[in-house]
């Protein structure tokens, strides 16, 4: 595309190029901004955690409580929101992680607006379709996980990760059986 800009119809080409560039810079900035905001919350939360629990610096026993099943930390939006207002460290860290998670979805939404602004009708449709599919799979993933859902329960044995992975994650080794298989 750059080639055609440099050779052929220079004027219209440059305008298109500038438009594309502005999208790219916006997307890049959004990703960086999301990551930085996330880091700020994570570090603030970590600081609070160590202020509240000075023994985390010394005591090895505490570690197991934090890593084993049943560890206590907020995992609903409501809990996170409430505990952030109480300035609790784990909740602040969670806000940081949630910001990181939301950034790519936000990116897709913003790019729809950018393509619309540039009257790139094909790509407005493409990005809109992506957003709709993302929202659908998110909703399906959530409902499928509800305890009343039979398939999710059937798959509970050793495949309890299936529901989440069913929505399509970006990496391969998220199946617990894989690890167990590796061990023996």
């Amino acid at each position: 595309m750059i080639e055609s800009v440099q050779t052929g119809n220079a004027q219209s080409g440059t305008i298109t190029d500038q438009k594309v560039r502005s999208i790219e810079l916006l997307i890049s900035g959004l990703l960086r901004g999301g990551a930085l905001a996330s880091l700020v919350f994570i570090f603030a939360g970590a600081l609070l955690i160590f202020i509240d629990h000075p023994n985390y610096l010394r005591s090895p026993e505490k570690l197991h409580q934090l890593l084993l099943p049943g560890a206590i930390f907020p995992h609903t939006i409501a809990d996170v929101g409430r505990e952030v207002l109480q300035l609790r460290g784990p909740a602040l860290v969670m806000v940081g992680l949630l910001l990181l998670i939301v950034t790519p979805v936000l990116l897709v939404a913003v790019s729809i607006l950018m393509f619309a602004y540039q009257r790139d009708r094909d790509f407005v449709m493409i990005t809109f379709l992506v957003l709709m599919l993302l929202v659908t799979s998110f909703l399906l993933g959530t409902t499928e996980h509800s305890p009343t859902s039979a398939p999710a329960n059937q798959r509970g044995k050793g495949m309890d990760v299936k529901v989440g992975s069913a929505v399509g994650s970006g990496q391969w080794a998220e199946n617990p059986r894989q690890i167990r298989g590796g061990k023996g």
């Binding site: 990551a35 570090f43 610096l57």
Partner: protein, 277 residues
């Protein structure tokens, strides 16, 4: 180990995972999950939750650089993302119907074959002759990037339909088996659509974050994202992938291809073992 030592150790290992993921267009779960479970005895659920966060962090850290430097092809990414997400939805529906045992074996063979193809083409530069593709022209998918070895590298995207098809299959497989699309999408973009390997890896990096973000919501609500495990991973991987993304341009494509072949073979063997169990 005290909690502070644990955090610092997970952080440092995650920097390495982030660099690795940023260079190869994969999520870094290959490293994160075994390290957390086998080495540090973290509960598998928290390890998986952390690895999902790692995928997003890899993508956010690396893609910011790649999009800015035009290494990632933003338009190709969005174009293929349609097929990947649709595939993931299909996979979620098929999950209860299809036998996983055979899927693992088939997938393993596909991976092995892909590794072979990438190995045979390891010294192939950018596409010599790209068959014209009217969809790629219409959607202006062609791109170019700056390479320290060759200067400005321009490439023409081709075989968009095959690319869409493979991305769809990658999505279905990730829905069925919990295997991310990265290992399939990079070869699809490189071998079929004729994106240079660096562009393919960078574009895949951009895409995996979008796909993983949707599943991350589910992991969060299930309580699998333990801040004590996921946060040091996120911080380390963000740093590592940002560093890695600046290294990509300076690596030789042949080195990148060989590394990718190694990862494909590794995944292929793992899948085969699971299928034969």
């Amino acid at each position: 180990m005290t909690p502070l030592e644990f955090l610092l150790l997970v952080f440092s290992l995650s920097v390495g995972a982030g660099m690795f993921g940023a260079l190869l267009g994969l999520g870094g779960g290959i490293i994160i999950i075994p390290v957390l479970t086998l080495l540090l005895k973290v509960d598998i659920r928290y390890a998986i939750g952390a690895s999902i966060v790692s995928v997003i962090a890899t993508s956010s850290g690396a893609a910011a650089t790649y999009v800015k430097e035009r290494m990632a092809n933003f338009r190709v990414a969005m174009f293929l993302e349609v097929a990947t997400t649709a595939g993931a939805l299909t996979g979620a529906y098929l999950a209860g119907v299809v036998s996983r045992k055979w899927l693992y074996i088939i997938f393993s063979l596909v991976m092995g074959y892909t590794a072979l193809m990438m190995f045979r083409n390891r010294s192939m530069g950018t596409a010599a002759e790209a068959p014209p593709d009217c969809l790629a022209d219409r959607l202006r998918l062609h791109g170019s990037y700056q390479d320290p070895f060759f200067g400005q590298v321009s490439y023409r995207v081709t075989r968009t339909r095959i690319g869409l098809g493979i991305s769809y299959i990658a999505g279905v497989l990730s829905g069925l088996l919990g295997i991310g699309g990265g290992p399939l999408k990079v070869p699809a973009m490189n071998l079929a659509m004729q994106l240079p390997i660096k562009a393919a890896s960078a574009t895949s990096n951009f895409m995996i974050g979008i796909t993983a973000a949707t599943s991350a919501g589910v992991y969060f609500s299930r309580g699998d994202i333990n801040p004590f495990v996921a946060a040091p991973v996120a911080v380390g991987v963000l740093l590592g992938s940002t560093i890695g993304s600046h290294l990509l341009a300076h690596l030789r494509s042949s080195v990148l291809r060989i590394a990718f072949v190694g990862v494909l073979l590794w995944i292929s063997i793992q899948m085969l073992l699971k299928g034969l169990q």
